[in-house]
C-alpha cells in the first residue's frame, strides 16, 4: 500500500490538471491491484535474494550489485581455495551468466541449445533436465556466439529465455513447462541472449539482433500467466516508445526537461527508425521504492553512420521505466548518432552515492563508449561522466551541461565517410567494457569493473537491408591499446561519486567475466585464458588463482550450503571476444573484427563447457 502511495507521490508532484488526476487515479487503482496481487509472487524472489546463502538471481539482487555478505572465505584464507566439485555442461561455445542457487538446489543453464539442469547440491545428481528443441537456423543469426546469460527464479518457477526467442517458465520442482511466450522472430534476425529478469510480478526480457536490422524493445510478461503486459520500443512513434512527450524527461542544458513530441521520429531520416536497432540484450535493474526498471539500448542499426543521419534516438540510451506500465520516466542518450557500435546495453548498478555532500539515489553505468556515468536514478540528472580507461580517444569528454560527448573528428568515421578507413580509435567497438558485469563493493563503496583495453580501425560502407541477413556495413580490425602495457584488459576499482580509477590491474586479455565482491574483502573475476582469480578489494593484489579448462566469460557467483561457502564460475570460451574459436573463424576482420584481435587466445585456451565450484579445505 505504502509503495503505491510513494509511486503516486513521485509522479504526481505538482500536477493540478483534473484530467491528469482522473487518469492517475485509474492507473493508481490498477497499480494498487497489481501491487497486491504481485506481492505474494514478489516476496518469494525477494525473500530468496535476501538470504545470503542463496544466489537467487543473476546479479544476486535487483540492483546489479553482484555482492555477497558471505565472509567465510576472506582475504586471509582465500589463498587456500581448492576445487570442491565440478560438472560438465555437455555443451561447447561461450558460457555467460552463472547458475542460480536456491536452498539445496542449483539451476544450471548452457549456451545453445540452452539446456537447463536442476542439480541437488547434496551430491550433484540431476533432479531434472529441460532440453529444448530449437531450430538450428537460429545460430547463423546470432552475431556474437551462441551465448545465454542465464536463468531467473520466482514463484516456484525457473525462467529460461531461449535463443529462438521463446520465453519458458518451468516448474522448479520437476522441470515441466508451465507456460511459454514467443518473444520475436528469428526469420528476421531476432534472437535472444539476455537473461530474463524477475521484478516483483513481471518477467522482463529484451531482444537481440542489432546487426540484423532488428527494431529493439523491452517487454514485460505476467509472472504467473506469461501474458504480455507491455512492450516498450526503442525507436519510433511516441505511443510505441511508451513515453509521454510532456512528462518523460531528459538531461537538457543543465537540467531535466521534457523530451517533447516525436523525439525519436525527428531524429531519423524517413522511415529508417524501423531498422533503428536499440536492442536490449544486457542486464536490467529494478528499484522497488521508485518502481522503476533501468536498462540500456543498443546500436542504431547499420554501422555505417552516413546512412542514418540524425541523433538516432533512442539508441544508446539509458531508460528508467515504470515497472507496471512501461512508461518512461526519464531517458539519457549517451552516444547520439553512434559511429562506433558503442551499444548502451551494459548493466545498470543502483547505488546510493555521496554527491556534493548529499546522499543521492544513483544509477551507475560503464558504457561501451568508455565513459562511466553516474545519474540520479530518481530524476535522471547527470552527475558524473568520466573515462574509465584513460586511453579512450573518440571523445575528449562529455559536456556536462548538454550531456553530449565532444567527438574528436580524428576518430570519427562519419566525418571521413564510407569507404575510408579510420585508424586507432579507442576503445574498439566491443568497448571499454562489454556485457561482462561489474560488482559493487558495499564495504568500500567502490565498483570493481572488468574492462577491455582494445582499439580498432573502422571502415564503414554502404549496406542494404534484407530481412534475416546481416545489416552492418563496416569492416573492423582490433588490437591491444597502443602505447600502453600491451595487454587487452584491466581489472579496475572505480569511485562512482567522482568518476575516478582508484587502482588498475592489467591483464593479458580483456576481462570478459562478471566480477563478484564479498564481505570477505575479496573480489573474484575470470580471465579469457581460463584463470579464476581472487584479488584484494583494497589494491587489486592477486591473492589466489586457478586455471580452469577453458576461457572464462561467465559471472563468478557464491553461495553457502551445509555451513560451507562456495565460489563458482562456468568455464567455456566464446562470446564476442572468443568468436574466432567458438565459430571456427580465421580471417582477422571476421567476427566483426574480434577474430584478429583475439587470435593470441589460441595459444592459451580452447573450447570447453564446465562448471567449477571452489571452497576452503575441510578442517
Amino acid at each position: 500500500m505504502a509503495q503505491t502511495l510513494q509511486w503516486k507521490g513521485t509522479v504526481q508532484a505538482g500536477e493540478t490538471n483534473m484530467k491528469h488526476l482522473k487518469r492517475s487515479l485509474l492507473v493508481g487503482v490498477a497499480a494498487l491491484a497489481a501491487t497486491l496481487s504481485g506481492m505474494a509472487a514478489a516476496s518469494d524472489i525477494e525473500q530468496a535474494m535476501a538470504d545470503s546463502k542463496n544466489w537467487a538471481s543473476q546479479a544476486g539482487d535487483y540492483a546489479n550489485h553482484r555482492y555477497s555478505n558471505l565472509n567465510q572465505i576472506n582475504a586471509s584464507n582465500v589463498g587456500q581455495l581448492q576445487v570442491a566439485w565440478t560438472m560438465s555442461t555437455g555443451v561447447l561455445r561461450g558460457h555467460e551468466g552463472s547458475p542460480l542457487v536456491i536452498g539445496d538446489m542449483m539451476y544450471i543453464h548452457t549456451p545453445f541449445p540452452n539446456n537447463v539442469y536442476a542439480v541437488n547440491l547434496k551430491d550433484q545428481s540431476y533432479k531434472w533436465k529441460y532440453e529444448p528443441k530449437q531450430d538450428a537456423q537460429v545460430v547463423p543469426v546470432m552475431c556474437c556466439d551462441t551465448v545465454n546469460r542465464g536463468l531467473a527464479y520466482a514463484d516456484g518457477k525457473i525462467f529460461l529465455q531461449q535463443a529462438d526467442t521463446t520465453l519458458v517458465a518451468l516448474d522448479a520442482n520437476n522441470g515441466k513447462v508451465v507456460w511459454t511466450a514467443k518473444n520475436g522472430d528469428p526469420k528476421i534476425g531476432e534472437t535472444n541472449t539476455n537473461a530474463p529478469h524477475i521484478f516483483k510480478d513481471k518477467v522482463i526480457t529484451g531482444i537481440s539482433g542489432g546487426e540484423f536490422g532488428v527494431r529493439g524493445r523491452l517487454i514485460a510478461y505476467d509472472l504467473k500467466t506469461g501474458n504480455k503486459v507491455w512492450t516498450a520500443w526503442s525507436t519510433g512513434p511516441d505511443n510505441e516508445l511508451l513515453v509521454d512527450p510532456a512528462k518523460t524527461k531528459t538531461w537538457t542544458n543543465g537540467k531535466m526537461a521534457p523530451i517533447g513530441k516525436d523525439s525519436s521520429l525527428k531524429s531519423w531520416q524517413g522511415e529508417q527508425w524501423k531498422l533503428g536497432g536499440g536492442t536490449t540484450w544486457g542486464w536490467y535493474a529494478y528499484d522497488p521504492k521508485l518502481n522503476l526498471v533501468y536498462y540500456g539500448s543498443g546500436n542504431p542499426g547499420t554501422w555505417n553512420p552516413a546512412q542514418r543521419p540524425g541523433d538516432n534516438k533512442w539508441s544508446m540510451t539509458i531508460f528508467a521505466r515504470d515497472l507496471d506500465t512501461g512508461m518512461a520516466k526519464w531517458v539519457y542518450q549517451m552516444t547520439p548518432h553512434d559511429e562506433w557500435d558503442f551499444d548502451g546495453v551494459n548493466e545498470m548498478l543502483l547505488i546510493d552515492v555521496e554527491s556534493k555532500g548529499k546522499k543521492v539515489p544513483a544509477v551507475v553505468h560503464f558504457d561501451r563508449n568508455g565513459f562511466g556515468y553516474t545519474l540520479n536514478r530518481d530524476t535522471g540528472e547527470l552527475l558524473v561522466a568520466e573515462k574509465y580507461d584513460p586511453m579512450v580517444n573518440w571523445a575528449t569528454k562529455v559536456d556536462m551541461k548538454t550531456g553530449r560527448p565532444i567527438v574528436d573528428k580524428k576518430y570519427s568515421p562519419q566525418t571521413t565517410g564510407p569507404d575510408v578507413n579510420v585508424k586507432d580509435i579507442c576503445p574498439a567497438a566491443l568497448g571499454s567494457k562489454d556485457q561482462q558485469p561489474a560488482s559493487y563493493d558495499r564495504k568500500t563503496g567502490l565498483i570493481l569493473v572488468p574492462t577491455n583495453h582494445v582499439c580498432m580501425t573502422y571502415e564503414p560502407f554502404q549496406v542494404e537491408y534484407t530481412a534475416g541477413q546481416p545489416f552492418v556495413g563496416a569492416t573492423l580490425t582490433m588490437f591491444p591499446t597502443p602505447g600502453s602495457h600491451g595487454g587487452m584488459g584491466n581489472f579496475i576499482a572505480w569511485d562512482p561519486a567522482v568518476g575516478k580509477i582508484v587502482w588498475s590491474k592489467p591483464e593479458r586479455f580483456s576481462v570478459w567475466s562478471g566480477a563478484l565482491t564479498t564481505a570477505g574483502d575479496v573480489a573474484f573475476y575470470g580471465t579469457l585464458e581460463g584463470y579464476l582469480k581472487a584479488v584484494s578489494t583494497k589494491d587489486g593484489k592477486e591473492l589466489w588463482k586457478f586455471k580452469t579448462p577453458s576461457g572464462i566469460i561467465g559471472n563468478v557467483f557464491t553461495y553457502q550450503y551445509d555451513g560451507k561457502q562456495y565460489v563458482g564460475v562456468y568455464s567455456g570460451i566464446g562470446g564476442w571476444a572468443g568468436i574466432g574459436m567458438a565459430a571456427g573463424l580465421t580471417e582477422s576482420t571476421e567476427g566483426l573484427g574480434a577474430v584478429g584481435g583475439y587470435k593470441e587466445l589460441a595459444k592459451y585456451t580452447t573450447l570447453g563447457g564446465s562448471l567449477f565450484v571452489f571452497a576452503l579445505p575441510s578442517r
Partner: protein
C-alpha cells in the same frame, strides 16, 4: 599489368567485361559490383572469397553461368535452396551487370578476394 576480359558468351561481342590492375584495382562498374556484393552480405552464404559455405562456390558457378541466367537468378533467387530474391534491392537492380563482372573476375582468378579500389 592491365587485364581486359572479353565476354565469354562466344557471341563475338568485343566489349570488355571488366578491367583489373594488380588484382585489386578495377573499373568503376566492377567496383560498384563489388560494393553490391558487400552491401547485400552475400559472403554470408557464399563465403568471403566466393568459395562457398552453405551456398555454392561462385568461383565454380560463374565458369558456366551465363550473364542472362545470372540476371534471372538475382531477381528471382532460389527460394527452394534458401537464396532470397533481390528484385526489390535498388543496389542489385542498378548494378547487377557490375556484380556479374566482379564475380566473373573472381571466377577467372583475375580479381583477388577482399577489398578493391578504383583503377589508377
Amino acid at each position: 599489368m592491365l587485364i581486359l576480359a572479353p565476354l565469354a558468351s562466344g557471341a563475338g561481342d568485343e566489349a570488355k567485361l571488366y578491367q583489373v590492375q594488380e588484382g585489386t584495382k578495377v573499373d568503376a562498374k566492377t567496383l560498384m559490383g563489388w560494393k553490391t556484393w558487400r552491401a547485400l552480405a552475400c559472403e554470408r552464404c557464399h563465403g568471403a572469397a566466393q568459395e562457398g559455405l552453405v551456398g555454392p562456390s561462385l568461383v565454380e558457378r560463374l565458369k558456366t553461368l551465363s550473364k542472362e541466367d545470372f540476371h534471372t537468378l538475382m531477381l528471382n533467387g532460389r527460394p527452394e535452396k534458401g537464396m532470397p530474391p533481390f528484385s526489390s534491392s535498388a543496389m542489385v537492380t542498378q548494378n547487377w551487370e557490375g556484380l556479374y563482372a566482379y564475380l566473373k573476375g573472381r571466377s577467372d582468378g583475375a580479381i583477388q578476394p577482399g577489398r578493391l579500389s578504383p583503377l589508377e
